[in-house]
């Protein structure tokens, strides 16, 4: 493996390998290549990046792995129209049990969206980011998208604005994006080769005409690359979303990674295809499967030398509200919002953000201390699953966890790998026997699961499956807990109390995600 694939896994935030960031004017971010980093989201602070870039990403849950423990985002569905057709999308689908990107229950006018954002931001001080991300394409309905942004910039100046697009119309709106001070743009790029693209996109609508197949894919990729270059030139941070479709673009995503890195992308988010027949998508109906956890990790690992790799994406609904992985949108339906007395309290929001800063420092200190306590590096690396409900701590009961966060641990550090959604095991105080096997499947590649508490029954079954349940580090910071458990694990292996064995693959949860 060359330097492109170096697998150093510190979690320091370095744009694109962080060799050089040229800051031009008030918000420049031009990047040149360099050696890579595994993931984005420093908890160490802005030591290796310009303060301006750090300020842009540090409280953005989608751009900073670490920020997603503390800060929330919301999406408003003001732009439901789309100008391309993707084989993993079905525009007809909408159901309350369904949680997938692009799916939404309630479409809003720009005025309704603004009212909702102000109501949520007043209620949830963690809410720092507002995105327009579908269903549909934010730039296929530019007047609705920019009307919303214009009002919010005026009424809620501390909220970061971002948008998500397929890139087809991006070159036409780059100037408009800069006008509203939109710091972050996400472009979905699944291919840079039209021969691959024609298997993903049946058609696009462009310049008043429908284009099909390879011709459509060629136009799309040309426009995406041009748009990305234009954003980079203007200092807008970009995140590239790619859907990993086994047998279609899996290895090709490594080429995509190189191409977007060369054009200055800040972050690359490789997500698993979500595909079930009942979604009614082309892929769902043709039986195109999504990747397993290890297949996803393999492609992500191969891309580590490219743009910063994002691994904490929850693939949330287009109208989600709250921290990543939670959805409080039911509390803020339009009927309820209409009745709320909204007072936008900027001071309360700033006080919360200051509290988070203090906690971040404590978390970094705890991790450093645990790292110093590690013995010599013998190359051993394992995955651990963590039950958490936020604040960067091991603080969730096994039975209450809706997801587990997965960390790779070695003597040299911890790296966030991703999250695995599961169904609640514990409902009404009783463990659900049919749920446990699916949890085991979801974290089957892990050596241990760190929890605040766990019942006797699942504890035995986890042990049976070779996953060690660990309560000992309850309410400690995650990285410190993972490192402390790992030191203890290696000690036990050394003493011959246990034998170190490699783990198998794990399954990625498909279909509906039912928030509590």
């Amino acid at each position: 493996m060359g330097s492109m694939f170096e697998s150093s896994v510190t979690s320091r935030l370095k744009p694109l390998g962080g060799i050089k960031i040229e800051v031009a004017g008030q918000s420049g971010c031009g990047t040149t290549g360099g050696e890579g980093k595994a993931s984005c989201g420093s908890s160490d602070g802005p030591a290796d990046m310009p303060t301006e870039i750090w300020e842009k990403v540090k409280n953005h849950p989608c751009y900073s792995e670490e920020a997603h423990h503390h800060f929330a985002r919301m999406h408003v569905a003001v732009a439901p129209a789309c100008n391309i057709q993707c084989n993993y999308c079905n525009r007809k689908y909408d159901c309350s049990n369904e949680s997938r990107p692009g799916v939404v229950s309630q479409k809003l006018t720009p005025d309704q969206a603004v009212k909702k954002v102000l109501a949520v931001a007043s209620e949830i001080p963690q809410m720092t980011v507002l995105g327009i991300a579908g269903p549909g394409d934010a730039l296929a309905s530019p007047q609705k998208t920019f009307d919303t942004f214009r009002q919010l910039q005026d009424k809620a100046p501390d909220i970061k604005l971002c948008l998500s697009t397929n890139g087809l119309m991006l070159p036409d709106y780059v100037d408009e994006i800069c006008k509203y001070n939109i710091d972050h743009v996400t472009i979905t790029i699944n291919m840079i080769d039209a021969a691959v693209g024609e298997k993903i996109y049946p058609w696009i609508f462009y310049n008043h005409k429908r284009y099909y197949g390879r011709e459509a894919a060629q136009i799309l990729t040309d426009r995406q690359m041009l748009g990305l270059e234009m954003l980079t030139a203007r200092g807008v941070l970009t995140k590239i979303n790619s859907v990993l479709i086994p047998g279609v673009n899996d290895e090709h995503l490594i080429e995509v990674n190189k191409a977007v890195k060369a054009r200055g992308a800040f972050l690359h988010n490789i997500m698993p295809l979500i595909s079930e027949a009942e979604h009614g998508t082309v892929y769902g109906l043709t039986g195109q499967r999504g990747p397993s956890a290890q297949e996803l990790k393999e492609v992500q690992d191969a891309c580590m030398g490219g743009a910063n790799l994002m691994r904490h994406c929850r693939q949330c609904r287009a109208d989600a509200v709250g921290l990543l992985g939670e959805d409080r949108s039911d509390e803020f339906t339009m009927d309820k919002v209409e009745e709320m007395e909204v007072v936008y309290d900027l001071d309360k929001r700033r006080a919360y953000q200051a509290k988070v800063e203090a906690q971040r420092e404590a978390q970094v200190a705890a991790k450093k201390a645990a790292l110093i306590a590690q013995g010599a590096d013998d190359g051993m690396k394992v995955l651990v699953a963590v039950a958490t409900k936020g604040n960067g701590k091991v603080n969730e009961h096994f039975g209450h966890a809706q997801e587990f966060q997965i960390y790779e641990v070695s003597a040299t550090g911890t790296a966030f790998i991703g999250h695995r959604r599961v169904d609640h095991y514990c409902q009404g105080g009783w463990g659900e026997d049919d749920v446990l096997p699916s949890i085991v499947t979801a974290i089957n590649d892990c050596h241990a699961v760190l929890v605040a508490k766990i019942g006797a029954c699942p504890r035995d079954e986890l042990k049976e499956a070779g996953i060690e349940p660990v309560e000992q580090y309850a309410h400690e910071f995650i990285e410190k807990a993972a490192l402390s458990w790992f030191a203890d694990y290696r000690e036990r292996v050394k003493k011959g109390e246990i034998t170190h064995q490699t783990r198998g693959d794990a399954a990625i949860r498909q279909g509906a995600y039912l928030a509590a």
């Binding site: 129209a81 007809k92 479409k107 609508f205 008043h208 429908r210």
Partner: protein, 73 residues
């Protein structure tokens, strides 16, 4: 003379509305409809009817057989 929107298929996504060269498309309760007297089937404006081309669901924007086909003046 006109296209119509089959409301059993329409997702209400609004993609067609701004594409119509005649402003013939309007929204009512989240669904979209075409005013037949304004529709020109895009003849004289575009090579293909814009609502049909942009619609994400096939066979949603269809010829309304209650009207004769549009003939450019």
């Amino acid at each position: 003379m006109a296209y119509k929107i089959d409301d059993t298929f329409c997702t209400g996504c609004s993609a067609c509305e701004p594409e119509c060269p005649n402003q013939a498309i309007y929204e009512k309760s989240g669904m979209f409809y075409i005013k037949p007297e304004k529709c020109t089937e895009c003849i004289g404006s575009f090579d293909e009817p814009q609502c049909v081309s942009v619609c994400p669901v096939d066979d949603t924007c269809i010829i309304d057989k209650n009207y004769p086909r549009y003939v450019a003046a």
